[in-house]
């Protein structure tokens, strides 16, 4: 029987040379008479090991990584001399059975159960691992039964605001209209996040399935995936998967013989962070400038082209197939307090072992860092960790015992958001990070409100004055007041939350603002 070698076609692996490695394997195999073929799979999300190459064996897949083209000949020798004769791996890059890699073993992969195992655009692979089971079950249910299952799962929006997904769906279901839409927010603008990208590149059918179920639940027949243009590989894979799903009858005018129709299209953003905000996203989809809308009306009632619209993050929609196939309880049993299920955390920045870490809510940030990071890449001590993207707080190293749960983070004036965790070592200058937060707001503000548009520009100037020791004490007071003005006078979280990282920087790292601890008492 033909043995399979797996080499990811996921973008991080490609950015580190996966295509060249795949070429080297293909070339080697063309020169040798071996019954082996190369499959381009997704990634397991163990990024420090990419490109990670796996080979199928009777015990499971065995991995090597990180592999360079120059390693291919010796890996192939190991494979033909050892693995194919059921002898143990013997190679400097040998990682053993993939499933036994501690980083993977310690996770609870519900959403990422298939990532890296399947060829992302193979429908057979998807079906073999429970694919479209949730859809089949949903087709047999009433629309209210689907919505109730989502409510009961406790799922909250994974895009940042953590709004209960079931309640949003109920609102759209109960609205009467001639047209409704399902919009997937795949703008994933937060630095330090890549879970949406991994879903789209490694298991796109899961997202498609989640969107079809959403369509059935609320009576919508058109879906859009608003994808950031920074993700060309995700775009290509999604297009292929949509094509395959259409040909197989999962999309189109008669979804799986249900008589219901659902069509799906990918639309690209154009490098504008604010278009991740749901109303700006809808404006952009309508072909306009991405200006944030006043709420109400809620998008659930008057969304895309004024029609009732579900806007959900990729991870929210990607959780739906599991919930519908395994039941609300199977999902809801994980997690803590009001944060139910799992969150795919994304460990990034200055760490040895960055990657995708799906865990139930409720462990501590410290445990996550200790269990997975392998320390900083620079071998220097951790100084700060920014969680929840560019609008999230910088946590100092003595505050890492915080629990990974939405409410625990809110209570600490921090943000769990989309689950991005960015580690900085002690060489970081927190004044520069605060300045960057303000500068980012200058660049990305939609411009609708003065406190956000002008306030952020003033913020950069004030921080520069503090840096240059121009009336430092007065300017610190000014910076703090400016933060209040932005919080109170901004329409959306862009202006309203930029003060969070800024304040955390001067509150928890006063020395970087040339403050003694006594001077720093602005609460």
């Amino acid at each position: 029987m033909t043995t399979k070698i797996f080499i990811p076609r996921e973008s991080t692996a490609i950015s580190l040379g996966a295509h060249q490695v795949a070429q080297a394997f293909t070339h080697y195999l063309s020169q040798h008479d071996l019954d082996i073929k190369v499959i381009r799979n997704g990634s397991r999300g163990l990024f420090w090991l990419e490109p990670m190459v796996e080979i199928e064996t009777a015990q499971g897949r065995m991995a090597y990584g990180p592999v360079a083209p120059a390693d291919v000949a010796s890996i192939m020798e190991d494979i033909s001399q050892n693995i194919l004769h059921e002898k143990p791996q013997c190679h400097a890059l040998a990682l053993g059975l993939t499933e036994n890699i501690a980083y993977l073993k310690k996770q609870t992969r519900l959403t990422f159960a298939r990532a890296g195992i399947t060829d992302p655009v193979s429908l057979d692979d998807y079906l073999a691992l429970d694919g479209f089971k949730g859809l089949q079950k949903s087709i047999a249910l009433s629309t209210q039964e689907i919505v109730t299952a989502v409510v009961d799962s406790g799922l909250r929006g994974r895009g940042g605001a953590a709004f209960p997904t079931g309640i949003k769906w109920q609102t759209v279901r109960d609205a009467t209209a001639d047209k409704k839409y399902i919009v997937c927010n795949a703008d994933e603008g937060d630095s330090g996040t890549f879970a949406d990208k991994l879903v789209m590149e490694c298991d796109p059918f899961m997202l498609i399935e989640g969107m079809i179920i959403a369509g059935l639940a609320v009576g919508a027949d058109q879906g859009y995936i608003y994808l950031r243009s920074e993700y060309p590989i995700a775009d290509a894979i999604l297009q292929q998967a949509i094509e395959v799903a259409g040909v197989a009858g999962y999309l189109g005018n008669d979804v799986c013989g249900s008589g219901k129709s659902f069509n799906l299209e990918v639309r690209l953003g154009a490098e504008a962070y604010i278009c991740g905000e749901e109303t700006a996203l809808l404006e952009s989809l309508e072909g306009k400038r991405g200006m944030v809308r006043f709420k109400p009306p809620l998008p659930a009632l008057e969304g895309l082209f004024g029609k009732p619209t579900i806007v959900n993050n990729v991870l929210s929609l990607a959780a739906i197939p599991f919930i519908m196939s395994e039941g609300s309880h199977a999902y809801q049993q994980y997690g803590t307090n009001r944060s139910r299920g799992t969150l795919p955390f994304q460990l990034a920045g200055n760490v040895k072992q960055g990657g995708l870490i799906e865990l139930p809510f409720g462990s501590s940030l410290k445990d996550l860092i200790d269990d997975f990071s392998g320390g900083t890449a620079s071998n220097r001590p951790i100084k700060a960790i920014q969680v929840g993207g560019p609008l999230g707080a910088y946590l100092p190293s003595h505050k890492l015992d915080i629990l990974l749960d939405y409410e625990a983070f809110s209570k600490a004036s921090a943000v769990l958001g989309h689950g991005g965790i960015v580690v900085f070592d002690d060489s970081v200058d927190m004044l520069e990070q605060a300045r960057f937060s303000m500068e980012f707001c200058v660049v990305e503000s939609c411009g609708k409100c003065t406190p956000c548009r002008i306030g952020s520009t003033r913020g950069v100037e004030v921080i520069d004055r503090i840096k240059n020791d121009e009336r430092r004490a007065e300017n610190m007071i000014l910076l703090n007041d400016l933060c209040d003005t932005m919080i109170d006078g901004s329409l959306c979280a862009m202006g309203g939350m930029t003060p969070i990282p800024v304040r955390s920087a001067f509150t928890d790292f006063p020395q970087d603002f040339f403050l003694t601890t006594q001077e720093n008492h602005h609460d």
Binding site: S15, S191, A270, A272, L285, L347, A348, G349, P390, F440
Partner: protein
């Protein structure tokens, strides 16, 4: 008056015609034109406006909102450096300085031989293996100054 369209502009016409009946067609049209021509020229803006029954000012307003759309030609190789936090934590501030120095241009500029243009981008979704750059549609991870120089010197053979 009859205008003779040069070939890029007749491509533009075809692009607009093939997309204009989509819901919210403007962004798909702008993307398709920029992909084909490299930028969205004033003449193209006029054509879009006419065909979508909007004013050129409205089209321009949309173009100027989005960082990606440009109204002037880019370099043959468009380099984008990630400036966001996770890349900063892995040394992107030093890489930015090196790149500007190496190319002797600043952001939003182009080398005099029109080979490279340099822009910033906020997160390429490759945050565990930064610093990161994108050249045209290719993504490159773990960019040391040395690897940056190397990629640029091989760019003609690697990016065909």
């Amino acid at each position: 008056m009859k205008i003779e369209f040069s070939s890029p502009l007749s491509n533009v016409e075809n692009i607009i015609d093939s997309l204009k009946n989509k819901e919210g067609s403007l962004l798909p049209i702008l993307h398709a034109i920029q992909k084909e021509v490299g930028y969205i020229a004033p003449k193209a803006i006029e054509r879009i406006a006419t065909k979508l029954k909007q004013t050129p000012a409205e089209i321009h307003g949309v173009i100027s909102f989005y960082h990606q759309f440009r109204t002037t030609p880019p370099g043959k190789y468009q380099i984008k450096i990630c400036r966001a936090e996770a890349c900063q934590a892995r040394g992107s501030r030093a890489l930015e300085a090196h790149a500007k120095d190496f190319l002797a241009i600043d952001y939003h500029q182009m080398t005099s031989d029109k080979k490279f243009s340099l822009d910033s981008v906020y997160c390429l979704g490759n945050c565990a293996t930064g610093p990161n750059i994108r050249i045209n549609d290719e993504l490159y991870g773990r960019i040391s100054n040395q690897r940056f120089d190397q990629i640029l010197s091989n760019v003609d053979s690697d990016l065909k």
